[in-house]
């Protein structure tokens, strides 16, 4: 998942690293939807995703000095959001399955989201990060230290097969 910083982002990062909060707020605004999206997809709770987004932004501000400008800022901040979201999920994961939509709508999107929500917590995180967010297996691996890459791959394949079957593909 390779993303490059534009000159404007580099400029803002430089200012933020020298302690300018307004530059960081601009960076936060640019990346807000991506952070919120990944948090929401993982947690599937609007309110908690909001909290995680704020925590992510605050943590990113506190550690901006450690950010290496040659890395992608978008990916760096997204990783922080994933870290918080995964922590949150493991704490509250068991309750997430109850959030499956009960509405009568039956669009592909709704069906897919419901199926994703029914996945076990670990499978859901791995699937979302790999197939929806574009993380590579080696980028996902640190969140599941007890698994090797092949196990992650197996989970993604198993999830795809499950989704394909249930979507009637």
């Amino acid at each position: 998942m390779k993303e490059e910083n534009t000159n404007y982002i580099k400029y803002l990062v430089d200012l933020a690293q020298s302690g300018r909060p307004r530059a960081f707020i601009e960076l936060a605004s640019i990346n807000l939807n991506n952070i919120f999206t990944v948090s929401y997809r993982l947690i599937y709770d609007y309110k908690i995703a909001e909290e995680v987004t704020v925590k992510t932004l605050m943590r990113a501000w506190e550690t901006i000095i450690l950010f290496e400008p040659s890395d992608s800022f978008a990916l760096w901040i997204k990783n922080i959001a994933v870290e918080y979201s995964v922590d949150e999920l493991f704490q509250r994961g068991s309750r997430m399955e109850q959030r499956v939509r009960r509405s009568g709508t039956r669009s592909d999107e709704d069906r897919l989201e419901n199926l994703i929500l029914k996945l076990p917590v670990e499978d859901r995180i791995i699937f979302i990060l790999h197939d929806l967010e574009g993380f590579s297996y080696s980028e996902i691996n640190p969140y599941f230290r007890d698994m090797i890459i092949d196990e992650l791959k197996t989970i993604v394949i198993r999830t795809r097969n499950y989704l394909m079957e249930n979507l009637g593909l």
């Binding site: 302690g19 960081f24 707020i25 991506n34 952070i35 919120f36 890395d71 897919l112 080696s138």
Partner: protein, 406 residues
């Protein structure tokens, strides 16, 4: 390729994880096998369905508003912290004020200015008359006390100077400040130059010896207890400590190395690139990401006009050394981190530890796990602390690894 083999590889194929040859084999099979072709079509349909999920979800606007408020109020509260933006704004305001005052002065003219001065003098004279006896005493004693304080400090500070230092010539001749040295001494601010045949030893007060090798050029930058400092400009030196707490720092290029104990060498090549090699004890090396310690058996490079590089074992594999070089000086990035992790053995974990402050959060997690596989962090070191590159925790883990490696 059989259908079963293709079925296993189809996901890797669609994820583009296969090399060119494997890819061609799969494609050749797919052209001739309807069953597998149907399977890949199914997978493609799956990805088309996945695409129906919105790429991003609109975040509530209140998040950024709340965050902005919190951040700005936090920045204002931080004493000497990240409030440079406001310092900058204050500076801007001060400049504006100065401009305004200048304008005002020119408008008022010199006569107006003298009137103001006269008022001040008149008021001051009145003030003198009204001073009580105690106030008079304070008025006279305070400057005397301040002057005495300054004088005491200067005397104390002056006593710390330990210049000149002794030079013992092993072979050849010593040139101090461009002149043949006959006194066997070198003073603060003076340089020592040795030719190809000369070797000398400098005695550093409260520390030990510095062996200055042939074709070397050094400068005694500061000869003062608690702040002894030598700059190595050319050639090489070997520092041998005899004190438990040495009092010596070495300037190499623009980096200041602190001698912590033991024996180490500093070599500078013709391109002014330096190599620091620790035989015993350890050194403190400054870095843009905070200082790190260089342990015995490890070395680091300080390239000209660069900050010190990542430490590595003196007898580490060349592949590791090359990858560290790429990481430090050629923007090796995440790929270099991965390569270093895959090459590094148990004894190279201090290299991985020193890289933590310089990499992304994700890479930190990978580094953390790689090091923890060999040396579990001590109880006072947490994963979160390492993710934040906490200097104290990094140091504690470093100590633990060094202790275990001994």
């Amino acid at each position: 390729m059989t259908c079963e083999e293709v079925k296993i590889s189809l996901h890797d194929y669609i994820d583009e994880h296969l090399d060119l040859l494997e890819k061609k084999e799969i494609e050749a099979h797919l052209r001739g096998c309807d069953k597998c072709h149907n399977e890949i079509t199914r997978l493609r349909n799956y990805f088309n369905t996945i695409k129906s999920i919105p790429y991003t979800i609109e975040a509530p606007e209140e998040i950024i508003q709340k965050f902005s408020r919190d951040l700005i109020s936090l920045s204002r509260e931080e004493p000497g912290g990240k409030n440079t933006s406001f310092a900058f704004e204050d500076e801007k305001i001060r400049k504006e004020q100065k401009k305004f005052e200048k304008k005002l002065k020119s408008e008022r003219g010199p006569s107006r200015k003298s009137d103001v001065s006269a008022t001040i003098v008149r008021n001051s004279t009145g003030g003198f008359k009204s001073l009580s006896y105690i106030e008079w005493k304070k008025f006279i004693i305070m400057p005397v006390l301040i002057a005495a304080g300054f004088a005491g400090y200067f005397i104390y500070d002056f006593q710390k100077y330990n210049s000149p230092w002794d030079i013992q010539l092993k072979t050849g001749t010593a040139i101090v400040n461009g002149r043949l040295n006959s006194t066997g001494k070198i003073s603060q601010g003076e340089s020592l130059s040795l030719d190809k045949q000369s070797v000398a030893v400098i005695e550093v007060p409260n520390t030990g010896n510095v062996e200055v090798n042939s074709s070397s050029y050094i400068v005694l930058e500061e000869a003062k207890n608690g702040a002894n400092r030598i700059r190595v400009k050319e050639g090489s030196i070997r520092v041998v400590n005899s004190a438990d707490i040495p009092d010596l720092r070495i300037t190499v290029n623009s980096s200041l190395i602190t001698d912590k104990s033991g024996i180490f060498t500093v070599d500078i090549d013709e391109a002014s690139n330096a190599k620091i090699n620790v035989e015993k004890g350890y050194l403190e090396i400054p870095s843009v990401r905070g200082s790190y310690n260089l342990a015995a058996g490890y070395m680091c490079e300080i390239k000209n006009n660069h900050s010190p590089g990542t430490p590595y074992r003196i007898d580490a594999a060349d592949t590791l050394k090359n990858e560290v070089d790429r990481f430090d000086y050629y923007n090796g990035g995440d790929l270099s981190v991965r390569n270093i992790i895959s090459i590094a053995g148990k004894k190279d974990m201090l290299t991985l530890l020193a890289m933590i402050p310089a990499v992304s959060q994700l890479q930190r997690q990978i580094l953390f796990q790689s090091i923890a596989n060999h040396f579990p962090p001590p109880t006072s070191v947490t994963r979160l602390g390492i993710m934040k590159a906490d200097g104290e925790m990094l140091y504690k883990w470093w100590e633990e690894i060094v202790w275990q490696l001994q």
